[in-house]
């Protein structure tokens, strides 16, 4: 039987750009070019490696996001995923983490899955909570924040380098995993991959297709609200000296002046 892998990928504003908030205090997705979250490339990479090890596997990449989020799906397809699902609906604008996990869970159930692979966090929201929320909603084990992952005999195993300990984890499929940026460099799409991706199917789903009401998601349905967003005041220009042989001593003098010594 084929191993059905769903990889959740997010389309995010490029961190190298000048990221901003829109007037309604949602993330401005116009000001800065978007791309496949770099941290989700690691998820695609691990899914590809797991699929390589399996007798038979199919990888679906899934995103919830605006029209342009197709770019993220294309990139994942060009890396080697088999097909894509794009959940897109105007009513999704402003959906928060709980809402997104609700929509993703519905889409994952509709697609069918044995293994869900996520990144460790999105590079814009940086919450790192969706994989746990998905596991809770789907009612399957979470095997998260893995720097190493493998699937065999209907089980997923992995290594989690936590704050205080390194843990070896194990769970039965179906399961939700997330992988860190320590899990191994993501491959670059090959020319062949990029060409092949153009022919791979991308299914579009809207809220109706997932039996979700408009008021369950979006800004209206959100469980949280951002009341204020202020640009952090620029740090006042500091003193920069060139080391002419006394740089360390000058630095010590500064630190003493600031009462650190």
């Amino acid at each position: 039987m084929s191993l059905r892998i769903v990889v959740c990928v997010k389309y995010v504003p490029d961190a190298a750009g000048d990221r901003q908030f829109a007037e309604d205090l949602t993330t401005d997705r116009e000001a800065v070019d978007g791309l496949l979250s770099e941290l989700d490339e690691y998820a695609v990479e691990q899914a590809l490696q797991i699929a390589d090890e399996a007798d038979d596997a199919e990888i679906t990449v899934l995103t919830v996001g605006p029209e342009d989020a197709k770019d993220a799906l294309r990139k994942a397809l060009s890396m080697g995923a088999d097909k894509a699902v794009h959940v897109e609906d105007d009513d999704l604008h402003g959906t928060d983490a709980l809402g997104t996990s609700f929509v993703l869970a519905k889409a994952i159930e509709k697609t069918g899955y044995d293994l869900v692979v996520c990144g460790m966090a999105s590079t814009d929201g940086t919450m790192g909570v969706l994989p746990a929320m998905l596991a809770e909603r789907l009612g399957v084990p979470q095997v998260t924040l893995l720097s190493e992952v493998a699937v065999a005999d209907g089980k997923v195993t992995g290594r989690r380098d936590g704050d205080v300990a390194t843990e070896q984890l194990e769970a039965q499929l179906p399961a939700v995993v997330s992988v860190t940026d320590q899990s191994g460099e993501a491959r670059y799409p090959s020319f062949k991959g990029i060409m092949a991706a153009k022919k791979k199917p991308v299914e579009s789903l809207d809220l109706d297709d997932l039996d979700i009401e408009a008021d369950e998601v979006g800004l209206e349905g959100a469980w949280t609200v951002v009341d204020e967003a202020a640009e952090r005041p620029a740090r006042s220009a500091g003193t920069v000296v060139k080391d002419e042989g006394e740089g360390g001593k000058q630095l010590a003098e500064y630190l003493a002046g600031q009462k650190f010594l």
Binding site: G128, P131, E136, T144, Q182, T224, V225, V241, K242
Partner: protein, 320 residues
């Protein structure tokens, strides 16, 4: 007064500092009730009481160590059901965020992660967050359900405020999903004897400029002279020069110390994301154009192998 649940972060009953910060913040919106999962609740309760916990709901069970995350969610939910709190505060550790996330789904409440401050507001607690690699500061609220908030270390200075800290046994029945993810083995991280990175008042970090694992003692020596924690950039970690648990930045730790010293670090956006809110920033870099200099209060353009050892010697002399 309303009660506020605070999930305790501890090592075998030794309460970690971020929990004291949570108790301090919790007092702004109600009476803190601590939830202690694991051994040595009585010992922990002394500290928790000193910092304002009126009650300590305690439960020890093998499940907490044997299975990942979910047993603690079951327990926190049991506490939630027992207390009907005004808010639930959880430390923003990787595990803390996952526990909070699952609790939020279960109780149908909004969740805010990585708060750096929290105040009482007319419509419930108002949290402050630092977003887009600390380029923006936002204020947010939970609008549905009981606010579940994870709080970053160093959000506030812990303030003592004696309270009863009475230990009560928390009844928990573990659900089927509690044993879903088995912890097959656990290797505790070896203690370096230095302060915890996220809790330290001073952090000294080294980057690619340190140029080899064999040179990191230069960074460590300065850290030890200052009583500081040691950090590293991802470039240094990826090169295998320093353990990943010391990485500062977007995919490492966020630090917000009184003093951050960056040596041989260029200051890429992903690194800045983890240190930009430090009170005082100092850098040593041989490239005067390095972006880290845009952030510094004091910078030295020079070779770190000359500047850092000289600084270390000077610190030692001055500290006597």
């Amino acid at each position: 007064m309303a009660e506020v649940l605070v999930l305790v972060d501890h090592v075998d009953g030794a309460v970690r500092k971020p929990t004291l910060e949570l108790l301090t913040l919790a007092r702004r919106i109600g009476d803190p009730v601590a939830v202690h999962l694991g051994p040595n609740a009585a010992e922990a309760a002394k500290t928790l009481g000193e910092y304002g916990a009126t009650r300590v709901l305690a439960r020890d069970a093998a499940e907490f160590a044997d299975y990942l995350v979910v047993p603690k969610v079951d327990a926190l939910q049991a506490a939630y059901d027992a207390v009907s709190p005004a808010a639930v505060l959880v430390p923003s550790s990787t595990e803390g965020k996952e526990i909070a996330a699952r609790l939020a789904v279960r109780i149908g409440s909004g969740i805010i992660t990585d708060a750096v401050d929290l105040e009482a507001g007319d419509e419930g607690p108002v949290t402050t967050q630092s977003v887009f690699a600390a380029a923006y500061t936002t204020k947010s609220r939970v609008t549905k359900g009981t606010p579940v908030v994870t709080v970053k270390p160093n959000a506030v200075a812990p303030e003592a405020a004696a309270a009863a800290g009475a230990v009560e046994e928390l009844a928990v029945s573990f659900g089927e999903s509690a044993s879903g993810t088995k912890v097959v083995s656990r290797t505790p991280r070896e203690s370096t004897g230095r302060p915890e990175l996220t809790e330290a008042a001073i952090v000294v970090s080294g980057g690619r400029g340190v140029n080899g694992a064999e040179n990191f003692p230069v960074i460590e020596a300065l850290a030890d002279a200052l009583g500081a924690a040691v950090g590293a950039s991802r470039a240094a970690v990826d090169a295998g020069w320093y353990p990943h648990s010391h990485q500062v930045g977007q995919t490492g730790k966020t630090v917000s110390p009184q003093l951050y010293i960056a040596a041989g670090i260029s200051g890429a956006i992903q690194h800045r994301a983890g240190m930009q809110t430090s009170k005082t920033i100092v850098a040593v870099n041989k490239d005067s154009e390095a972006p880290i200099f845009d952030l510094v209060d004091y910078g030295v353009v020079g070779d770190l192998f000359a500047v850092v050892p000289q600084l270390t010697e000077e610190v030692k002399t001055r500290k006597g």
